[in-house]
Symmetry: D2
Subunit: 310 residues, 4 copies
């Protein structure tokens, strides 16, 4: 099979400071679809064009941030094999029973060197995207313009130490490949790495940062640059705190807005990127060009990029 192993980013569990305020934000402003609430008080959302039951899970806590980031894998035997491969690599894995998250099968959870919890799972209920799987229309009218209405949860950018160890783990065990990276002055150590498990420009990314387990942003896909403008307009109307954008990243070429949810978690609504494959030599950015790498139009970082994380 050509698309095997780890398929895609599946779910991100975010900590929010005020659950109902956040439910209103993710549901009405961002325009995700609420699909369930569990006994633990977690609220589940999916982007409208995703089929799986949930991709964003919110739970209330004292500090913002990300609890774990899960990837869907091809099937149960792949899940078993990856669990086994991880343990063989020296990574301690934990099994979370099916149903612990709503409509989600058993999960294999492990901590990576950057301090983040990553999960793998094979099953999540097919909730649908609002359209039949027989003779569907081109988009779901009732859903596609509710709030910002991104089509998919796309990736996370995570901050933490030891990202070179993370890269090795993701490449050797999980089958990811490097698409782009930013290299520090020594010419060897990466400040940032972007990796894919598909032909998307990235499925996960890391920036080297002293504190472990930090979230830079959760990212949502929009269908066009015009939808990016619409997103910025809706953020303005809803007084959402915009970090930067609309603008473009040099890395991935994506057109983007970075903004903050009510808890201070940064999220991104973006369009673009390019198709890439494991046979493509990774694009490299030198530290003197990290400005355009991140903010292509301004060609310089803002002070928040390297410091504001949750």
């Amino acid at each position: 099979m050509a698309l095997t192993g780890v398929l895609r980013p599946g779910h991100a569990a975010l900590r929010v400071l005020d659950l109902e305020e956040s439910v209103n934000f993710y549901g009405n402003v961002l325009g995700l679809i609420e699909t369930g609430r569990d006994k633990q008080g977690r609220v589940y959302f999916k982007a409208w064009d995703e089929r799986d039951h949930n991709s964003i899970v919110l739970h209330q806590a004292d500090r913002a941030g990300i609890d774990y980031f899960g990837f869907k894998v091809a099937n149960k035997s792949t899940l078993e094999k990856l669990d086994s491969d991880l343990r063989a690599y020296g990574v301690k894995t934990e099994r979370i029973p099916a149903g612990e998250m709503l409509e989600t099968g058993e999960r294999v959870r492990f901590e990576i060197p950057s301090g983040h919890l990553i999960e793998l799972y094979a099953e999540k209920k097919d909730f649908g995207n609002g359209m039949p799987y027989v003779n569907p229309e081109a988009w779901a009218v009732a859903l596609a313009d509710k709030g910002i209405a991104p089509t998919r949860f796309d990736h996370c950018l995570l901050y933490g130490p030891d990202i070179e160890k993370v890269q090795k783990l993701f490449e050797e065990v999980l089958g990811f490949y490097l698409t782009e990276h930013v290299v520090l002055e020594d010419g060897q150590t990466d400040l940032a790495i972007f990796m894919a498990t598909s032909n998307k420009a990235h499925d996960i990314a890391f920036v080297r940062h002293p504190e472990p387990g930090k979230l830079h942003h959760v990212s949502f896909l929009l269908e066009s640059w015009e939808r990016v403008l619409r997103a910025a307009d809706l953020m303005s109307m809803n007084r959402v705190s915009i970090d930067i954008g609309p603008t473009r990243h040099g890395i991935t070429r994506g057109t983007t807005i970075y903004a903050f949810d009510p808890s201070g978690n940064r999220f991104e609504t973006f369009n673009g990127g390019y198709q890439t494959y494991p046979d493509c030599k990774p694009l490299k950015w030198t530290i003197d060009e990290v400005g355009p790498a991140i903010f292509y139009h301004d060609r310089k970082l803002n002070e928040r990029f390297l410091s504001v994380v949750t």
Copy 2:
């Protein structure tokens, strides 16, 4: 590895009636980049944002059409394995030496039940996309507006008999998965099948047709719906024969123009689609809805769709 086996459509070899007229068309009107000519008189092109040396190869012949459609595979051991798997499946394979096509490694060629020649290869020279792989700009100014300037060769739609056998072969041996299909009145036999080896909406497609080995279209990717308009404008200015478009396909949701090269080979310049994965249940279209499946706005086929092929 998550993206393994067959990676992507790699090259299509087209028969054209007048080589220089075609070279002018593919180079100046479509805006592909000419990368070489070989001793056999074949002319090689790539879309500007592709890295590999060539994706479209033209050679002059008495009748238009497609000679073969090649896919890039992950590496040489994959090539060996797939060759072996094909022969185990009962498919006769032929080895074409490295260099027979310019800058291309050894190819495994085989005929599929629809009468088409398919190839697999592991190596094609990295020619580049006009930009460095270190600190690149967002796009190549010199290339991105020359003619229609699609970014990539995306797929082919091929016409021939026995497509259910083709599907079985592509699924069981080559690792493709079905993304969408059109089912005839009997509820079982497919008129059309769309298959992917990546998370693109399709990498190859077939329509059931009595004559074997026919080409419906060669397809090129544009970056936006606005670039589709620009393509239509340029086709008009250059008196290119437009079959239909700008319009949308229900299947894949892609926005598209079908038009004809000077030899009558149909080509497509499109944008859009959606990200899909092997765990997504294929979308089905019933024959009474084949109109919107193919031409979503008109909601009916034109007479050329089922009959004009090369």
Copy 3:
């Protein structure tokens, strides 16, 4: 005053075969805003970004078509002057009292040589565009995505005889100027004329046609080519009969869809055009190029363009 006299297309009164079906179409599919119903059973609509109370008025009749097309003029003294100028020109005018149309002042009505009834008025109630006139947001969220949601009623294309006399009247009395025209084989007689009273590419247009008083289309403005795609998608979802599009006109360069309301009245949803002024020499199209003049991509008329009118 630089923008004086006749300002803009103000209202079009359409005959529909089934009022409630048409109210549903214009309100929910096209996405106009219903603003009133009068004792005569007429239903009033405006496009969401227009301020004036109404621009489209529907009333049920046995045959489809247009009853009259009204233009807003700068003020009441302008209305008086134009009435006087028309009569001096030999045109019989009729006064329709204020309030005969809801929220509309006194109208001066007259028949033009092509058989159409044209009106001029100075007052229509400021209903608003859904946003305050102090510190408004960029667009009205509740209105801008309801159905196709054009922003404005833009112009009409009318069919009838003696259009050269119409042109003379519009130029000499009403202050319009010719922006583009299609000339017949004799090099002198126009098949089509496009005239403006603003710096829009046209505010009214005529095609020479034996039957007087016919409507080719009522036209609505969309904000972008992407909104044209969205309009086509919504037409498809709502099984609206599309005449042609998305495509481009050579004349005005506008990107467009022509489609039919439930009564068979053709309407257009378009974007684009260019800014023009009275000092710009009109663009001329010769009859052999009427194909691209009307349908720029196909470069030929369809059989409906010259024959299907209401």
Copy 4:
């Protein structure tokens, strides 16, 4: 005539510090068309889709800024009448002979209370937009992608004192009308005024500023939001200093980039706006909302907006 009197912004004469550097910038980066050089050493440009010979004139000087901003009027008798009206209003006018600017007729020049020199003229040679006036194509391929390639010079935003006196002059003598304004805390005094002589959202604008005769920006029209992105990309590639953008203005709703030419003159490349007319009540912005009025996404001014002028 409905579009009479003052028609449109016609030319802006800019002072640049290094002529050849600026010629390269305006010609190759911005993508204006150089149309002439005169004996005084001035270099003339037009945007590709303008017909008149020139709209931007550069001359080298010790300090950057704008020398004068000229408007085209309907015809010579209008020019005479406006000259006479200005003098009757108490404004001293000067006549500049035909040919003093290349291909331009006689100009009436006068100083307005904000310290700026405004000109009116009736004649400028029809240079063309690269396409014939008979059976033209939709756009000029050779011109439309050269650099940023705006289609038109659209307006200037000028800074100086006494803007209420300027408004009175433009309204009462020149026939402009107010479309939007920003009001200071006293509820009466305007910080900024936007006026039109057409149905564009504005043809000229002023911000109250202690220093007379200052230029905030010269503005150029782009055809879409996607062209705004392309402009930002090209500015980045050419290391143009971007002030802000891509973003949106609340005032006029235009989507925009502000950036600086090599001399520090700010220019704007924008798309959008809305159609307005003299019968539309002006939109008002209160000083507490000047943030979104100017920078709709950030909802706050940057420090440069009120201070950096030339």
